[in-house]
Amino acid sequence: MGFYISSRPNIAKYVINVASIMMTIPSLALYGVMVVAFAPFKLGLGIVPSISAITIYSLLPITRNTYLALNQVKPGMIEAARGIGMSKNQILWKIKIPLSIPVIMSGIRIAVVMGVSVATYASLIAAGGLGYFIFAGIGRANLTMVLVGAILISALGIGVNYILLKVEDWITPKGLKVKR
């Protein structure tokens, strides 16, 4: 979606706005909406509405960063690419995307880490997960249980973030990382 809107500023405005509005919905409420939305298909509880909620939540950072990344490529670069005879597609695949990888990847990273924390609520609609420890712990006034849940979730977030950082470093073109 980010790729698609990157060359269409008119549509991009709306897409980014819609995604921003989605972000302002409290995550707990979004689960509620999903439960109601999927209820007619007898999927009102469990995995399906949870994953849908998390996906919608992740949309914004990924879309926005992809959009911004592709548009921050310097005009001189595009001008040179056109001037030496690269087609639109070649400019997108050989120039714009490689140059955008760091920003696109950081969008994905933010989305995934946010997803991990939002997923905590999934246990409230019977999808289980680490969030269970937290909510069960609160229900039983069991501090240890809450802490175990919280620490495991944090550890998961940090771990995933670390792995994605490595992936980012791995797929970023070497020329963007060299020092003088």
């Binding site: 040179a80 690419a81 056109r82 005879g85 073109p173």
Partner: protein, 367 residues
């Protein structure tokens, strides 16, 4: 080679290029000059179809460009811009190889070509694997030129290519660019707003103002015979001195009056040789013909004996320096003669103050 006929371009209601007709000859370096917003860059960009024109016709290589696919057209025309636009995620090799790869050259041929082209722009082969972020401004500009020349286009379009380079390096780049052009003889259209650059580099100059072509002629003709007040003002008050600057050091290089020795030779043996041949000046060269040092035999005023002087880092003049630059170096060095080197720093001869004065005398006698 390039023929513009009654070309007009409007941006909204504003006429950017008004009814241009211009013939650019094969192998010539044509300068477009004028104040910013005069339409010079627009005209340049119309030649490779980066900007479409409204009326008229442009013919490149006997074909109207309206009949040619823009992408195909651009692959056969080199293009260099002020921002250079090297791609930072690609090595120098990959940057230079872009157009040959787009044209589906064989890998072997590409490798050979890049070796050749790096040598042409006087970049060491080790640069091939560097990234643009590791290069200085001047080096980037050389790579930009190499990229534009890589697929051996006959035409080169350059839009203020040296505009963002500091003045000292700009002069050097201009010198080596002229040497390169002397070798490759491409048809070049070069946009600048710097009149000194225009006079130094151009074979022909097109002076443009507010979308109109004011004067298009040989550089010497423009200097001696400006079409109107606008051109006069553009050239400045010192246009007679500028006319002198059309002469290059290479026009005055002398191949005699000195001897050359290997830089491994002992000073005593050099001194002996010089005295035997009764020659006052000697240059020591290494095996690559690079100038290393200079020896002078001078009459000492008090003893009337000859003094032998060793000068490990002599002043040098480059072949492409114009006479103004050469004179100023001689004045600064306090020397009546200085050695001349080419773009590859190889020694080619000497230049003498007396020769230049002869030329100036001839000029003033005529006028």
């Amino acid at each position: 080679m390039i023929e513009l006929t009654n070309v007009t371009k409007k941006f909204g209601n504003k006429i950017a290029v008004n009814n241009f007709s211009l013939h650019i000859e094969k192998g010539s370096l044509t300068i477009f000059i004028g104040p910013s917003g005069c339409g010079k860059t627009t005209t340049l960009r119309m030649i490779n179809k980066l900007t479409p024109f409204d009326k008229g016709n442009i013919i490149v290589n006997d074909t109207p460009i309206n009949d040619v696919n823009p992408v195909e057209l651009r692959r056969n025309i080199g293009y260099v811009i002020q921002e250079i636009g090297l791609f930072p995620h690609l090595t120098v090799f990959e940057n230079v190889a872009i157009v040959p790869r787009l044209l589906k050259w064989e890998q072997k041929k590409i490798e050979r070509r890049i070796e050749e082209i790096l040598e042409l722009v006087t970049l060491n082969q080790s640069f091939a694997q560097k990234y643009p972020l590791q290069l200085s401004g001047g080096e980037k500009q050389r790579v930009g030129l190499a990229r534009a020349l890589a697929a051996e286009p006959e035409i080169l379009l350059m839009d203020e290519p040296f505009g963002a380079i500091d003045p000292i390096n700009r002069l050097k780049l201009q010198d080596s660019f002229l040497e390169i052009q002397e070798e490759i003889k491409k048809t070049i259209v070069f946009v600048t707003h710097d009149i000194n650059e225009a006079i130094k580099l151009g074979d022909k100059i097109a002076i443009i103002n507010e979308g109109n072509l004011i004067q298009y002629d040989n550089v010497s003709k423009i200097l001696s015979d400006p079409a109107n007040e606008f051109v006069e003002n553009l050239l400045g008050q010192d246009r007679n001195i500028k006319a002198l600057s059309l002469k290059k050091a290479k026009d005055y290089v002398l191949k005699d009056g000195f001897i050359t020795v290997l830089d491994t030779e002992s000073h005593e043996s050099v001194e002996k040789k010089m005295k035997e041949k009764n020659i006052k000046i000697a240059f020591a060269l290494d095996e690559n013909n690079h100038l290393k040092s200079r020896f002078v035999l001078e009459k000492a005023t008090d003893t009337k004996k000859q003094k032998f002087i060793y000068n490990p880092a002599p002043w040098i003049i480059e072949r492409q320096n114009n006479i103004n630059e050469a004179l100023s170096k001689m004045l600064e060095a306090g020397e009546k003669q200085l050695p001349v080197v080419n773009r590859k720093k190889e020694f080619v001869g000497i230049i003498k103050l007396s020769n230049i004065f002869e030329e100036v005398n001839k000029k003033t006698n005529i006028s």
